[in-house]
Protein backbone atom coordinates (compact mmCIF):
# COMPACT_ATOMS: atom_id res chain seq x y z
CA UNK A 1 0.00 0.00 0.00
CA UNK A 2 1.21 3.49 -0.75
CA UNK A 3 1.22 6.53 1.51
CA UNK A 4 -1.07 8.48 -0.79
CA UNK A 5 -3.63 5.65 -0.81
CA UNK A 6 -3.83 5.58 2.98
CA UNK A 7 -3.96 9.36 3.29
CA UNK A 8 -6.73 9.59 0.71
CA UNK A 9 -8.69 6.82 2.44
CA UNK A 10 -8.92 8.74 5.71
CA UNK A 11 -9.16 12.28 4.43
CA UNK A 12 -12.55 13.68 5.37
CA UNK A 13 -14.63 15.98 3.21
CA UNK A 14 -13.05 19.43 3.24
CA UNK A 15 -10.10 18.08 5.20
CA UNK A 16 -6.43 18.74 4.69
CA UNK A 17 -3.43 16.48 4.96
CA UNK A 18 -1.18 18.17 7.51
CA UNK A 19 2.33 16.90 7.25
CA UNK A 20 5.37 16.89 9.48
CA UNK A 21 7.72 14.62 7.59
CA UNK A 22 10.67 14.68 5.26
CA UNK A 23 10.32 15.74 1.60
CA UNK A 24 10.33 12.12 0.43
CA UNK A 25 7.14 11.40 2.38
CA UNK A 26 5.66 14.66 1.18
CA UNK A 27 6.40 13.69 -2.41
CA UNK A 28 4.80 10.30 -1.87
CA UNK A 29 1.47 11.96 -1.10
CA UNK A 30 1.00 12.88 -4.74
CA UNK A 31 -2.54 13.99 -5.41
CA UNK A 32 -4.04 12.44 -2.30
CA UNK A 33 -5.62 15.78 -1.36
CA UNK A 34 -4.78 19.29 -0.18
CA UNK A 35 -1.52 19.27 1.73
CA UNK A 36 -0.30 21.74 4.34
CA UNK A 37 2.63 21.96 6.70
CA UNK A 38 1.61 20.92 10.19
CA UNK A 39 3.78 23.66 11.63
CA UNK A 40 2.24 26.52 9.64
CA UNK A 41 0.29 27.78 12.64
CA UNK A 42 -3.13 26.79 11.36
CA UNK A 43 -4.82 24.36 13.73
CA UNK A 44 -6.22 21.02 12.67
CA UNK A 45 -9.91 20.60 12.01
CA UNK A 46 -12.45 17.83 11.63
CA UNK A 47 -11.65 15.54 8.71
CA UNK A 48 -7.97 16.37 8.60
CA UNK A 49 -5.31 13.73 8.27
CA UNK A 50 -2.18 14.39 10.30
CA UNK A 51 0.82 12.63 8.84
CA UNK A 52 3.95 12.72 10.95
CA UNK A 53 7.26 10.96 10.61
CA UNK A 54 8.05 9.16 13.84
CA UNK A 55 11.21 7.62 15.14
CA UNK A 56 9.87 4.87 17.40
CA UNK A 57 13.08 4.92 19.42
CA UNK A 58 13.08 8.66 20.07
CA UNK A 59 12.82 9.84 23.67
CA UNK A 60 10.07 12.32 22.82
CA UNK A 61 7.78 9.75 21.19
CA UNK A 62 4.94 10.21 23.67
CA UNK A 63 5.16 14.00 23.56
CA UNK A 64 5.12 13.89 19.79
CA UNK A 65 1.97 11.80 19.75
CA UNK A 66 0.33 13.95 22.41
CA UNK A 67 0.99 16.96 20.18
CA UNK A 68 -1.12 15.61 17.34
CA UNK A 69 -3.85 13.89 19.33
CA UNK A 70 -6.78 16.20 18.73
CA UNK A 71 -10.36 15.08 18.25
CA UNK A 72 -11.72 14.68 14.76
CA UNK A 73 -8.47 13.99 12.96
CA UNK A 74 -6.92 10.77 11.77
CA UNK A 75 -3.27 10.38 12.68
CA UNK A 76 -0.89 8.58 10.36
CA UNK A 77 2.43 7.64 11.95
CA UNK A 78 5.11 7.14 9.31
CA UNK A 79 7.86 4.91 10.70
CA UNK A 80 11.15 4.11 8.98
CA UNK A 81 11.07 0.45 9.99
CA UNK A 82 9.54 -2.78 8.68
CA UNK A 83 6.45 -4.22 10.32
CA UNK A 84 8.52 -7.09 11.63
CA UNK A 85 10.90 -4.69 13.41
CA UNK A 86 8.36 -2.46 15.13
CA UNK A 87 9.14 -1.85 18.82
CA UNK A 88 5.58 -2.73 19.83
CA UNK A 89 5.96 -1.95 23.52
CA UNK A 90 7.18 1.61 23.02
CA UNK A 91 4.56 2.35 20.39
CA UNK A 92 1.67 0.87 22.36
CA UNK A 93 2.69 2.71 25.50
CA UNK A 94 3.18 6.07 23.81
CA UNK A 95 -0.06 5.77 21.79
CA UNK A 96 -2.00 4.73 24.87
CA UNK A 97 -0.72 7.69 26.87
CA UNK A 98 -1.63 9.99 23.98
CA UNK A 99 -5.13 8.42 23.95
CA UNK A 100 -4.73 7.26 20.37
CA UNK A 101 -6.79 4.21 19.34
CA UNK A 102 -5.44 1.74 16.80
CA UNK A 103 -7.16 1.65 13.41
CA UNK A 104 -4.87 0.09 10.84
CA UNK A 105 -1.29 -0.81 10.04
CA UNK A 106 0.18 -1.06 6.56
CA UNK A 107 3.60 -1.86 5.12
CA UNK A 108 4.46 0.84 2.61
CA UNK A 109 5.34 0.07 -0.99
CA UNK A 110 7.86 -0.37 -2.38
CA UNK A 111 8.77 -3.06 0.09
CA UNK A 112 12.52 -2.67 -0.14
CA UNK A 113 12.43 0.69 1.66
CA UNK A 114 10.93 -0.96 4.77
CA UNK A 115 8.53 1.68 6.00
CA UNK A 116 5.32 1.32 7.87
CA UNK A 117 2.31 3.52 8.46
CA UNK A 118 0.17 3.11 11.57
CA UNK A 119 -3.25 4.71 11.45
CA UNK A 120 -4.83 5.81 14.72
CA UNK A 121 -7.52 8.12 16.01
CA UNK A 122 -7.68 10.23 19.14
CA UNK A 123 -10.22 8.37 21.24
CA UNK A 124 -10.43 7.17 24.81
CA UNK A 125 -12.32 4.09 23.58
CA UNK A 126 -11.60 1.49 20.87
CA UNK A 127 -12.60 2.41 17.34
CA UNK A 128 -13.43 0.10 14.42
CA UNK A 129 -10.24 -1.48 13.16
CA UNK A 130 -9.62 -1.80 9.44
CA UNK A 131 -8.53 -4.88 7.48
CA UNK A 132 -4.84 -5.51 6.98
CA UNK A 133 -3.95 -4.52 3.41
CA UNK A 134 -7.64 -4.04 2.77
CA UNK A 135 -9.18 -1.69 0.26
CA UNK A 136 -11.91 0.86 0.77
CA UNK A 137 -14.72 -1.70 0.65
CA UNK A 138 -14.58 -2.49 4.35
CA UNK A 139 -18.05 -1.06 4.81
CA UNK A 140 -19.56 1.43 7.15
CA UNK A 141 -17.77 1.68 10.48
CA UNK A 142 -21.03 2.58 12.20
CA UNK A 143 -22.21 -1.01 11.74
CA UNK A 144 -19.38 -2.33 13.85
CA UNK A 145 -20.39 -3.42 17.34
CA UNK A 146 -17.38 -2.27 19.32
CA UNK A 147 -18.12 -4.53 22.25
CA UNK A 148 -18.24 -7.58 19.99
CA UNK A 149 -15.13 -6.38 18.21
CA UNK A 150 -13.43 -5.98 21.59
CA UNK A 151 -14.35 -9.53 22.54
CA UNK A 152 -13.02 -10.83 19.27
CA UNK A 153 -9.79 -8.82 19.58
CA UNK A 154 -9.32 -10.23 23.05
CA UNK A 155 -9.64 -13.77 21.78
CA UNK A 156 -7.44 -13.27 18.76
CA UNK A 157 -4.85 -11.42 20.83
CA UNK A 158 -4.94 -14.00 23.63
CA UNK A 159 -4.75 -17.06 21.42
CA UNK A 160 -2.50 -15.47 18.86
CA UNK A 161 0.04 -14.08 21.30
CA UNK A 162 0.16 -17.36 23.23
CA UNK A 163 0.73 -19.23 19.99
CA UNK A 164 3.31 -16.66 18.87
CA UNK A 165 5.21 -17.18 22.12
CA UNK A 166 5.07 -20.94 21.65
CA UNK A 167 6.26 -20.63 18.07
CA UNK A 168 9.07 -18.32 19.16
CA UNK A 169 10.02 -20.80 21.86
CA UNK A 170 10.08 -23.57 19.26
CA UNK A 171 12.30 -21.36 17.16
CA UNK A 172 14.60 -20.67 20.11
CA UNK A 173 14.72 -24.38 20.92
CA UNK A 174 15.65 -25.11 17.35
CA UNK A 175 18.33 -22.41 17.48
CA UNK A 176 19.68 -23.81 20.75
CA UNK A 177 19.73 -27.31 19.26
CA UNK A 178 21.55 -26.02 16.22
CA UNK A 179 24.03 -24.26 18.53
CA UNK A 180 24.55 -27.44 20.51
CA UNK A 181 25.10 -29.45 17.34
CA UNK A 182 27.53 -26.84 16.08
CA UNK A 183 29.49 -27.02 19.34
CA UNK A 184 29.58 -30.81 19.10
CA UNK A 185 30.71 -30.47 15.53
CA UNK A 186 33.53 -28.14 16.60
CA UNK A 187 34.60 -30.62 19.29
CA UNK A 188 34.57 -33.56 16.89
CA UNK A 189 36.43 -31.53 14.32
CA UNK A 190 39.02 -30.55 16.98
CA UNK A 191 39.51 -34.19 17.99
CA UNK A 192 39.88 -35.24 14.39
CA UNK A 193 42.38 -32.47 13.72
CA UNK A 194 44.36 -33.47 16.81
CA UNK A 195 44.44 -37.09 15.67
CA UNK A 196 45.40 -35.92 12.22
CA UNK A 197 48.32 -33.88 13.60
CA UNK A 198 49.52 -36.82 15.71
CA UNK A 199 49.27 -39.16 12.77
CA UNK A 200 51.15 -36.70 10.62
CA UNK A 201 53.98 -36.40 13.18
CA UNK A 202 54.16 -40.17 13.49
CA UNK A 203 54.22 -40.53 9.76
CA UNK A 204 56.97 -37.94 9.43
CA UNK A 205 59.07 -39.79 11.99
CA UNK A 206 58.59 -43.03 10.09
CA UNK A 207 59.48 -41.23 6.92
CA UNK A 208 62.72 -39.90 8.44
CA UNK A 209 63.67 -43.39 9.61
CA UNK A 210 62.84 -44.86 6.23
CA UNK A 211 64.98 -42.23 4.51
CA UNK A 212 67.86 -42.98 6.86
CA UNK A 213 67.54 -46.72 6.18
CA UNK A 214 67.40 -46.02 2.49
CA UNK A 215 70.54 -43.91 2.68
CA UNK A 216 72.34 -46.65 4.58
CA UNK A 217 71.25 -49.23 2.06
CA UNK A 218 72.36 -46.96 -0.74
CA UNK A 219 75.82 -46.59 0.82
CA UNK A 220 76.08 -50.37 1.24
CA UNK A 221 75.19 -50.83 -2.39
CA UNK A 222 77.74 -48.23 -3.45
CA UNK A 223 80.48 -49.91 -1.43
CA UNK A 224 79.58 -53.31 -2.86
CA UNK A 225 79.62 -51.87 -6.36
CA UNK A 226 83.05 -50.34 -5.74
CA UNK A 227 84.34 -53.64 -4.46
CA UNK A 228 82.90 -55.49 -7.46
CA UNK A 229 84.47 -53.02 -9.90
CA UNK A 230 87.88 -53.30 -8.17
CA UNK A 231 87.59 -57.06 -8.19
CA UNK A 232 86.78 -57.06 -11.90
CA UNK A 233 89.74 -54.81 -12.60
CA UNK A 234 92.02 -57.07 -10.61
CA UNK A 235 90.74 -60.13 -12.46
CA UNK A 236 91.23 -58.43 -15.80
CA UNK A 237 94.78 -57.43 -14.87
CA UNK A 238 95.53 -60.94 -13.67
CA UNK A 239 94.18 -62.52 -16.86
CA UNK A 240 96.52 -60.30 -18.90
CA UNK A 241 99.60 -60.99 -16.76
CA UNK A 242 102.48 -63.17 -18.32
CA UNK A 243 102.45 -65.66 -15.45
CA UNK A 244 98.71 -66.28 -15.93
CA UNK A 245 99.16 -66.68 -19.66
CA UNK A 246 102.12 -69.05 -19.11
CA UNK A 247 100.17 -71.05 -16.60
CA UNK A 248 97.18 -71.32 -18.94
CA UNK A 249 99.49 -72.40 -21.81
CA UNK A 250 101.08 -75.07 -19.57
CA UNK A 251 97.61 -76.38 -18.72
CA UNK A 252 96.78 -76.50 -22.45
CA UNK A 253 100.03 -78.46 -23.12
CA UNK A 254 98.86 -81.18 -20.76
CA UNK A 255 95.59 -81.62 -22.74
CA UNK A 256 96.70 -80.59 -26.24
CA UNK A 257 100.49 -80.67 -26.38
CA UNK A 258 100.98 -79.12 -29.82
CA UNK A 259 98.46 -76.31 -29.37
CA UNK A 260 99.75 -75.76 -25.84
CA UNK A 261 103.38 -75.51 -26.96
CA UNK A 262 102.37 -73.05 -29.67
CA UNK A 263 100.60 -70.91 -27.06
CA UNK A 264 103.52 -71.20 -24.64
CA UNK A 265 105.95 -70.12 -27.35
CA UNK A 266 103.79 -67.17 -28.25
CA UNK A 267 103.58 -66.08 -24.63
CA UNK A 268 107.35 -66.34 -24.18
CA UNK A 269 107.93 -64.43 -27.42
CA UNK A 270 105.67 -61.58 -26.35
CA UNK A 271 107.34 -61.53 -22.95
CA UNK A 272 110.89 -61.37 -24.30
CA UNK A 273 110.29 -59.07 -27.32
CA UNK A 274 111.91 -55.72 -26.90
CA UNK A 275 109.70 -52.73 -27.43
CA UNK A 276 110.65 -50.72 -30.57
CA UNK A 277 113.22 -47.93 -30.11
CA UNK A 278 111.79 -44.50 -29.93
CA UNK A 279 112.39 -42.36 -33.06
CA UNK A 280 115.71 -40.44 -33.10
CA UNK A 281 115.43 -36.72 -32.43
CA UNK A 282 115.58 -34.63 -35.52
Amino acid sequence: MMVREIAARYLGEGGTIRVDADPEVLAALGRAGPVADLGDGVGTSQGDVVLIAVDPLADNLTDRLLGVSTQGVTVLLHLPVAVGDLPVGRLAQAAGMARLAFVEIAPIEPGWSLRTVIVCRPSPRPVPVRPFLGDDSAGDDHEVDLDSQGLRIGWEWGLGSARARAVEELGRTAVRRVGQLERELVEVRGELEKELVEARVELQQELVEARRDLKTAHEVVQRAESRAIAEAQRRAALQQSPSFLVGRAVLTVRRHPIRGLRQLTGVIDRGTRRPPDPPAPA
Binding site: M1, A82, V83, G84, A106, P107, E109, G111, L114, P128, V129, R130, P131, F132, L133, G134, D135, S137, A138, G139, E143, V144, D145, S148, Q149, L151, R152, I153, E156, G160, R163
Partner: protein, 222 residues
Protein backbone atom coordinates in the same frame (compact mmCIF):
# COMPACT_ATOMS: atom_id res chain seq x y z
CA UNK B 1 -18.23 -25.90 -12.96
CA UNK B 2 -20.53 -27.33 -15.51
CA UNK B 3 -24.21 -27.63 -14.87
CA UNK B 4 -25.05 -31.31 -15.31
CA UNK B 5 -28.52 -32.56 -16.00
CA UNK B 6 -30.55 -33.58 -12.97
CA UNK B 7 -29.76 -37.12 -12.02
CA UNK B 8 -32.22 -39.85 -11.29
CA UNK B 9 -29.71 -41.51 -9.02
CA UNK B 10 -29.76 -38.89 -6.26
CA UNK B 11 -26.65 -37.40 -4.73
CA UNK B 12 -23.16 -38.80 -4.37
CA UNK B 13 -22.27 -39.85 -0.85
CA UNK B 14 -19.40 -38.10 0.92
CA UNK B 15 -16.86 -40.82 0.17
CA UNK B 16 -18.23 -41.25 -3.34
CA UNK B 17 -17.78 -37.53 -3.97
CA UNK B 18 -14.20 -37.61 -2.69
CA UNK B 19 -13.43 -40.58 -4.94
CA UNK B 20 -15.19 -38.89 -7.86
CA UNK B 21 -13.05 -35.75 -7.61
CA UNK B 22 -9.83 -37.65 -7.08
CA UNK B 23 -10.57 -39.62 -10.23
CA UNK B 24 -11.48 -36.46 -12.11
CA UNK B 25 -8.19 -34.82 -11.10
CA UNK B 26 -6.41 -37.98 -12.23
CA UNK B 27 -8.17 -38.10 -15.60
CA UNK B 28 -8.22 -34.45 -16.60
CA UNK B 29 -5.59 -31.78 -17.05
CA UNK B 30 -4.85 -28.70 -15.00
CA UNK B 31 -7.74 -26.58 -16.24
CA UNK B 32 -10.44 -29.09 -17.03
CA UNK B 33 -10.20 -31.05 -13.79
CA UNK B 34 -11.26 -28.03 -11.78
CA UNK B 35 -12.79 -25.96 -14.55
CA UNK B 36 -15.93 -26.39 -16.58
CA UNK B 37 -16.02 -29.57 -18.66
CA UNK B 38 -18.45 -28.01 -21.10
CA UNK B 39 -15.87 -25.37 -22.06
CA UNK B 40 -12.85 -26.06 -24.21
CA UNK B 41 -9.31 -25.48 -22.97
CA UNK B 42 -9.04 -21.89 -24.19
CA UNK B 43 -12.39 -20.92 -22.73
CA UNK B 44 -11.40 -22.44 -19.42
CA UNK B 45 -8.20 -20.38 -19.53
CA UNK B 46 -10.30 -17.25 -19.85
CA UNK B 47 -12.72 -18.56 -17.23
CA UNK B 48 -9.89 -18.97 -14.71
CA UNK B 49 -8.41 -15.57 -15.50
CA UNK B 50 -11.79 -13.88 -15.18
CA UNK B 51 -12.46 -15.49 -11.82
CA UNK B 52 -9.00 -14.53 -10.58
CA UNK B 53 -9.63 -10.93 -11.55
CA UNK B 54 -12.95 -10.89 -9.75
CA UNK B 55 -11.33 -12.50 -6.72
CA UNK B 56 -8.57 -9.88 -6.61
CA UNK B 57 -11.25 -7.22 -6.84
CA UNK B 58 -12.72 -8.67 -3.66
CA UNK B 59 -9.67 -9.39 -1.55
CA UNK B 60 -7.86 -6.25 -2.64
CA UNK B 61 -4.94 -5.56 -4.89
CA UNK B 62 -2.46 -4.74 -2.14
CA UNK B 63 0.22 -7.19 -1.13
CA UNK B 64 3.34 -6.99 0.97
CA UNK B 65 6.49 -9.01 0.67
CA UNK B 66 7.36 -8.38 4.31
CA UNK B 67 3.88 -8.95 5.74
CA UNK B 68 1.76 -10.79 3.16
CA UNK B 69 -1.90 -11.59 3.43
CA UNK B 70 -2.56 -15.11 4.67
CA UNK B 71 -5.08 -16.80 2.42
CA UNK B 72 -6.77 -20.18 2.41
CA UNK B 73 -7.86 -21.70 -0.88
CA UNK B 74 -10.37 -24.24 0.38
CA UNK B 75 -10.89 -26.99 -2.17
CA UNK B 76 -7.95 -25.81 -4.22
CA UNK B 77 -8.01 -28.67 -6.72
CA UNK B 78 -4.77 -28.57 -8.66
CA UNK B 79 -3.95 -25.16 -7.20
CA UNK B 80 -4.43 -22.75 -10.10
CA UNK B 81 -5.85 -19.98 -7.89
CA UNK B 82 -3.46 -20.70 -5.01
CA UNK B 83 -0.45 -20.35 -7.31
CA UNK B 84 -1.83 -17.19 -8.90
CA UNK B 85 -2.50 -15.61 -5.50
CA UNK B 86 0.98 -16.61 -4.33
CA UNK B 87 2.47 -14.90 -7.35
CA UNK B 88 0.51 -11.80 -6.31
CA UNK B 89 2.52 -11.74 -3.08
CA UNK B 90 0.21 -13.54 -0.70
CA UNK B 91 0.95 -16.50 1.53
CA UNK B 92 -1.51 -19.18 0.51
CA UNK B 93 -2.52 -22.49 2.01
CA UNK B 94 -4.43 -24.86 -0.23
CA UNK B 95 -6.48 -27.81 0.96
CA UNK B 96 -8.35 -30.46 -0.98
CA UNK B 97 -9.59 -33.99 -0.40
CA UNK B 98 -7.92 -35.25 -3.59
CA UNK B 99 -4.47 -36.66 -2.95
CA UNK B 100 -3.84 -36.65 -6.68
CA UNK B 101 -4.56 -32.93 -6.90
CA UNK B 102 -2.50 -32.07 -3.82
CA UNK B 103 0.48 -34.00 -5.14
CA UNK B 104 0.23 -31.99 -8.34
CA UNK B 105 -0.06 -28.78 -6.31
CA UNK B 106 3.11 -29.58 -4.37
CA UNK B 107 4.98 -30.32 -7.59
CA UNK B 108 3.85 -27.03 -9.09
CA UNK B 109 4.25 -24.79 -6.04
CA UNK B 110 5.62 -21.36 -6.93
CA UNK B 111 6.84 -20.05 -3.59
CA UNK B 112 5.46 -19.98 -0.10
CA UNK B 113 2.25 -21.76 -1.11
CA UNK B 114 1.57 -24.89 0.95
CA UNK B 115 -0.83 -27.72 0.23
CA UNK B 116 -2.49 -30.28 2.46
CA UNK B 117 -5.00 -33.07 2.01
CA UNK B 118 -8.00 -32.18 4.12
CA UNK B 119 -11.74 -31.89 4.07
CA UNK B 120 -13.16 -28.40 4.38
CA UNK B 121 -14.94 -29.24 7.62
CA UNK B 122 -11.80 -30.70 9.18
CA UNK B 123 -9.06 -28.18 8.44
CA UNK B 124 -7.76 -26.76 11.72
CA UNK B 125 -4.62 -24.67 11.25
CA UNK B 126 -2.87 -22.85 14.08
CA UNK B 127 -3.43 -19.43 12.56
CA UNK B 128 -6.18 -17.13 11.29
CA UNK B 129 -6.50 -16.15 7.66
CA UNK B 130 -7.02 -12.70 6.22
CA UNK B 131 -9.25 -14.30 3.62
CA UNK B 132 -10.71 -17.75 3.12
CA UNK B 133 -11.89 -18.49 -0.39
CA UNK B 134 -13.77 -21.51 -1.68
CA UNK B 135 -14.06 -21.29 -5.45
CA UNK B 136 -16.56 -23.65 -7.08
CA UNK B 137 -16.38 -26.12 -4.23
CA UNK B 138 -19.29 -25.77 -1.84
CA UNK B 139 -21.95 -26.65 -4.42
CA UNK B 140 -20.17 -29.97 -4.85
CA UNK B 141 -20.72 -30.85 -1.19
CA UNK B 142 -23.82 -32.94 -1.63
CA UNK B 143 -24.47 -33.65 2.03
CA UNK B 144 -26.19 -30.68 3.67
CA UNK B 145 -24.62 -31.45 7.03
CA UNK B 146 -21.12 -31.55 5.54
CA UNK B 147 -21.86 -28.33 3.64
CA UNK B 148 -22.97 -26.57 6.84
CA UNK B 149 -20.02 -27.91 8.86
CA UNK B 150 -17.65 -26.83 6.12
CA UNK B 151 -19.02 -23.28 5.95
CA UNK B 152 -18.90 -22.97 9.73
CA UNK B 153 -15.35 -24.28 9.88
CA UNK B 154 -14.11 -22.03 7.09
CA UNK B 155 -15.73 -19.03 8.79
CA UNK B 156 -13.98 -19.92 12.04
CA UNK B 157 -10.62 -19.52 10.34
CA UNK B 158 -11.18 -15.89 9.36
CA UNK B 159 -9.64 -13.24 11.57
CA UNK B 160 -11.27 -9.99 12.60
CA UNK B 161 -11.91 -7.84 9.51
CA UNK B 162 -10.95 -10.78 7.34
CA UNK B 163 -13.00 -11.99 4.38
CA UNK B 164 -14.95 -15.18 3.79
CA UNK B 165 -15.48 -15.63 0.05
CA UNK B 166 -17.79 -18.49 -0.92
CA UNK B 167 -18.81 -19.31 -4.46
CA UNK B 168 -22.34 -20.43 -5.25
CA UNK B 169 -25.35 -19.20 -7.17
CA UNK B 170 -27.26 -16.18 -5.95
CA UNK B 171 -30.54 -18.00 -5.79
CA UNK B 172 -33.61 -17.84 -3.63
CA UNK B 173 -33.76 -21.59 -3.08
CA UNK B 174 -31.56 -24.65 -3.05
CA UNK B 175 -31.39 -26.53 -6.34
CA UNK B 176 -30.16 -30.02 -7.13
CA UNK B 177 -28.42 -30.04 -10.49
CA UNK B 178 -27.25 -33.63 -10.57
CA UNK B 179 -25.60 -36.23 -8.50
CA UNK B 180 -22.54 -34.08 -7.84
CA UNK B 181 -23.84 -30.52 -7.75
CA UNK B 182 -26.35 -28.76 -5.54
CA UNK B 183 -26.53 -25.00 -5.16
CA UNK B 184 -27.71 -23.44 -1.93
CA UNK B 185 -29.78 -20.34 -1.51
CA UNK B 186 -28.32 -16.99 -0.60
CA UNK B 187 -30.39 -17.04 2.57
CA UNK B 188 -28.93 -20.43 3.43
CA UNK B 189 -25.46 -18.88 3.49
CA UNK B 190 -26.62 -15.81 5.41
CA UNK B 191 -28.33 -17.95 8.02
CA UNK B 192 -25.15 -19.91 8.64
CA UNK B 193 -22.48 -17.22 8.33
CA UNK B 194 -23.92 -14.00 9.76
CA UNK B 195 -24.46 -15.31 13.31
CA UNK B 196 -20.78 -16.19 13.39
CA UNK B 197 -19.83 -12.49 13.51
CA UNK B 198 -19.86 -11.64 9.82
CA UNK B 199 -21.38 -8.88 7.76
CA UNK B 200 -22.62 -9.76 4.27
CA UNK B 201 -20.93 -7.53 1.72
CA UNK B 202 -22.87 -8.84 -1.24
CA UNK B 203 -22.78 -11.14 -4.25
CA UNK B 204 -20.20 -10.64 -6.99
CA UNK B 205 -21.28 -12.65 -10.05
CA UNK B 206 -18.72 -14.20 -12.35
CA UNK B 207 -20.40 -12.57 -15.34
CA UNK B 208 -18.75 -15.18 -17.52
CA UNK B 209 -21.00 -16.24 -20.40
CA UNK B 210 -23.99 -18.12 -19.04
CA UNK B 211 -22.37 -19.15 -15.75
CA UNK B 212 -24.67 -18.23 -12.89
CA UNK B 213 -22.13 -18.61 -10.09
CA UNK B 214 -20.40 -15.85 -8.20
CA UNK B 215 -18.82 -14.85 -4.91
CA UNK B 216 -20.79 -14.42 -1.72
CA UNK B 217 -18.55 -12.10 0.31
CA UNK B 218 -18.63 -11.79 4.08
CA UNK B 219 -16.42 -9.74 6.39
CA UNK B 220 -15.83 -10.67 10.00
CA UNK B 221 -16.70 -7.75 12.23
CA UNK B 222 -16.94 -9.57 15.53
Amino acid sequence: MSTPEPSQHGRLGVDEAIAFWDERHLQHGDLLSGGDLTYDHCTNEAFYAMRLGRLLDIIGASASAVAPLRLLDAGCGKGWFARALTRCGHQVDGIDTSETAIEECRRSAVGSDRYMVSRLDAWAPTCFYDAVVAVDVLFHLMDDGVWRDSVVNLAALVRLQGLLVLVDHDAEADHLWGEYQVTRSRQGYLDVVQPLGFRYLGFHPYRFRDNAAGFHVFRRIA
